[in-house]
């Protein structure tokens, strides 16, 4: 997946220019060498006593025998762990709860969550500009997927953003990154309350099919017009644009995947069935019982973004109200899927507004990964589930998710083994810039 992000590059050039004016020559481009720690690259074996060399916004080298430039800024990390920034593959971070779902309509693929994203700190407070969330950075989280809520059948378009950057546009890694859908209880409950369709699983599936058939028709009409000779085009009006259809056509063209929240096996099968019918890329979200269809998911190479190990009921469902799920759910879900060859991410599904004092659940994502290792998920897989696997599922692995030359310098330094509950993130770099230091 190629990320076209012109505003980002232009801003970068402009800032580099400013930097050159403001600082003595060379300082802006000084390399940073983090050395002496155990480097968990997430791209092969870990490197004891390794070096991560950062130049500008990118990682220049990673290894045990990296030549460190004489003028590089050295960061001693002996006894510490160095790994890529945490990637949280599903959040509602930075979006006010009332902006998440448009319950006037079950299908709104045109809606873009990026337009509800608010990274400017607290409303009516702050000095100005983008304000990174210190708690999220404190959890080592450098990249998050932000999604529309799960109460609609097709909620809209999600985005992948970084948790720190110099301005709004520079935060955006990929947008749109997927179309978010939900099958099962969340839309049933939301529209059931309003006594409005869809209130059954049948109707939910039918709505998705109808929307995709509409998009196929739309695509055909647009293509038919495009293929006309120029003379013809002048005579016939161009078919009107429809933003809902344009979004879904991206699915049909496989430019972006569908992310479908589904928990019960029946819902998982419906999602897979529809994806097959329309030949679209599918990511399963939540997937409480995904382990029951592990072979199907593995065979079709469908990744799963699981909820947090300690509270996997991501749509707010309470356990005792869903005894049928309680009987089949299993904390070994991640381990079983991973062993079967399914690509697994563990995500926070966390909020960033409301709740208690604007705190974020995402800061504890490493702990959720650690908890999964108690349920037989190998350590390596648990770490991948919050880094490289998440990045690959989000289509941004060319930029983030592992420590490799050429990738964005999103690096975290921890004071101990990342999956230990007493370990703390000490330093965070995003795009080569130190953005967090533990007090």
């Amino acid at each position: 997946m190629i990320i076209k992000n012109k505003p980002f590059r232009m801003t970068w050039l402009f800032m580099a220019f400013l930097g050159a004016l403001a600082l003595p020559s060379g300082t802006a481009e000084k390399a940073i060498a983090i050395k002496g720690g155990t480097v968990l690259t997430m791209a092969g074996k870990s490197i004891p006593n390794g070096v991560v060399l950062i130049k500008g916004e990118k990682i220049q080298a990673v290894g045990s025998e990296v030549k460190i430039p004489a003028d590089a800024v050295i960061i001693e990390a002996a006894g510490k762990y160095i790994m890529p920034g945490i990637v949280d593959a599903m959040t509602y971070f930075g979006v006010r709860p009332f902006d998440l779902n448009d319950l006037t309509n079950p299908v709104t693929p045109q809606n873009r969550i990026i337009q509800a994203y608010y990274p400017f700190g607290k409303f009516m407070q702050g000095k100005g500009g983008v304000e990174p969330d210190k708690e999220l950075l404190g959890g080592g989280v450098t990249t998050v997927y932000i999604a529309p809520g799960d109460r609609q059948v097709i909620g809209g378009q999600g985005a992948v953003v970084k948790t720190s950057g110099r301005d709004f546009d520079s935060l955006i890694l990929r947008e749109p990154a997927a179309i978010d859908m939900a099958i099962g209880d969340p839309p049933k409950a939301a529209f059931g309350e309003a006594q409005k369709s869809p209130v059954t699983r049948m109707s939910i599936a039918a709505l998705i099919r109808k929307s995709l058939i509409d998009a196929q028709e739309y695509d055909r009409a647009q293509k038919a017009y495009d293929s006309k000779a120029e003379e013809e085009k002048k005579k016939t009006p161009r078919p009107s644009r429809d933003l809902n259809m344009e979004a879904l056509v991206k699915l049909l063209h496989r430019e972006i995947p569908a992310r479908v929240e589904a928990d019960l096996v029946d819902d998982l099968r419906t999602a897979i069935r529809i994806a097959e019918e329309f030949q679209i890329d599918l990511i399963i979200d939540s997937g409480l019982t995904a382990y029951l269809v592990k072979d199907l998911l593995a065979a079709k190479k469908i990744p799963v973004v699981l909820g947090p190990t300690s509270h996997p009921f991501v749509s707010g469902g309470e356990v005792s109200s869903t005894p049928e799920l309680l009987r089949v759910m299993d904390e070994h879900n991640a381990a079983i899927l991973s062993k079967a060859g399914v690509k697994v991410a563990i995500a926070s599904y966390g909020f960033g507004f409301g709740g208690f004092g604007d705190a974020v659940q995402g800061k504890w994502l490493l702990l959720e990964a650690g908890l999964a290792t108690g349920f037989d998920l190998p350590d390596e897989e648990a770490l991948k589930a919050v880094t490289i696997n998440a990045a690959q599922i989000l289509g941004v692995a060319d930029r983030v998710g592992s420590l490799e030359p050429g990738k964005d310098a999103d690096v975290i330094i921890l004071d101990g083994y990342p999956l230990n509950v007493k370990t703390w993130v000490e330093k965070v770099f995003i795009n080569g810039e130190a953005v967090y230091s533990k007090k």
Binding site: E135, S321, F356, W364, K422
Partner: protein, 399 residues
Amino acid sequence: MRMLRRALPLLIPLVLLFQVEFAAPAGQSRFALKGATVYPASSSRIENAVILVENGKITAFGPDVKIPSGAKIIDVSGKAIIPGLIDIHSHLGFFDSDINEFPQPIGPENRALDALYLDSPDWSEAVKGGVVTLVTGPGSGERIGGQSVTIKTFGADLQKRIIKEAGEVKMAINARNLSHVQAIRNSLLKAREYKETWDRYEAGDKKEPPPKRDLALEALVKVLNREERIRCHVHFANDMLSFLKLKDEFGFELTFEHSTEAYKIAEEIAKRGVGCVCLPLVMRIPLGEDLMRGNAVLEKAGVKIALHTDHPVTQEKWLRLCAILSIRYGLSEEAALRAITINPAELAMINTRVGSIEKGKDADLVVLNGPWQELQSRVDLVFIDGVLAYDRSLDESKP
């Protein structure tokens, strides 16, 4: 959902079978757990200790216990043992629709026991997490929600499972409603009058017929007599102060429930001897870093703290995880263990039976495959009243 609930009774016999199957191998009335590192909660950790269990009670515990010849020896070397965990604030064992009598803001007469749903699969899930005793009851939708039941999570005989049928009165105050505290105050004043009426009657010649009984006021009289305590759901520091003033006026026993901002007024709480049932609720509810360190602040100020799951807000089985998180945020390991064992036992006034590993107490024991305070450690065995209630090797032997 309703249809599924109707189908539940069909599934219940399966659940029962499951429990019986586990219980059977430990039918012995006398056995010894040997070789583990034991965290008794009421005293310091002991390596390589022996716990002797006879007829459901702990009859000996220590490094040099002589094991009687007839006792079965269960070797648990390399494992850790902690007391059966106690969740002092749960809503486990009820249908969601049964815990809040919303149209009735003052309902101290309502008893959770009368709504208990014993066939819920949540009970056996709780056991898996090592949670043995619950104070479970009404929600926080009313000013006075009713009385909780104190019950064990496992056991064939319901009557034996129940430690306390009723009593603990649940109240709730939330900021931004000036009438909440006054509504409770009015109820307590009425209860005081009711008590005086009865006291006069009892002291008199009893020629007149007795005053009419009022179950709501009876429950509150127990609170005024300090036989039962008030459990007050509260989040904001100012609301806590209001309630502390109420305590000063009426002198009842009190715990704060959730106690979100208790750390901001730790001294005020400590000096009145009020217990705090504290957050976090595992990693589900986002909490700020200062708040996460609040448990350590309260402990240092001398407040007796307990942790809770608020099931179904978070699942009962993760109670231990709340303690582990508190350790991450500065609470000592010993204090964190006390907060899920002996402290809630004392606050719920059931510490003569449960809450620690001591001679004479119920044999509620949790055996883990590693240090209890590590994220990755798992519960291997759970004994409740000396009966094996959970064995992970059987539970996870499914393909």
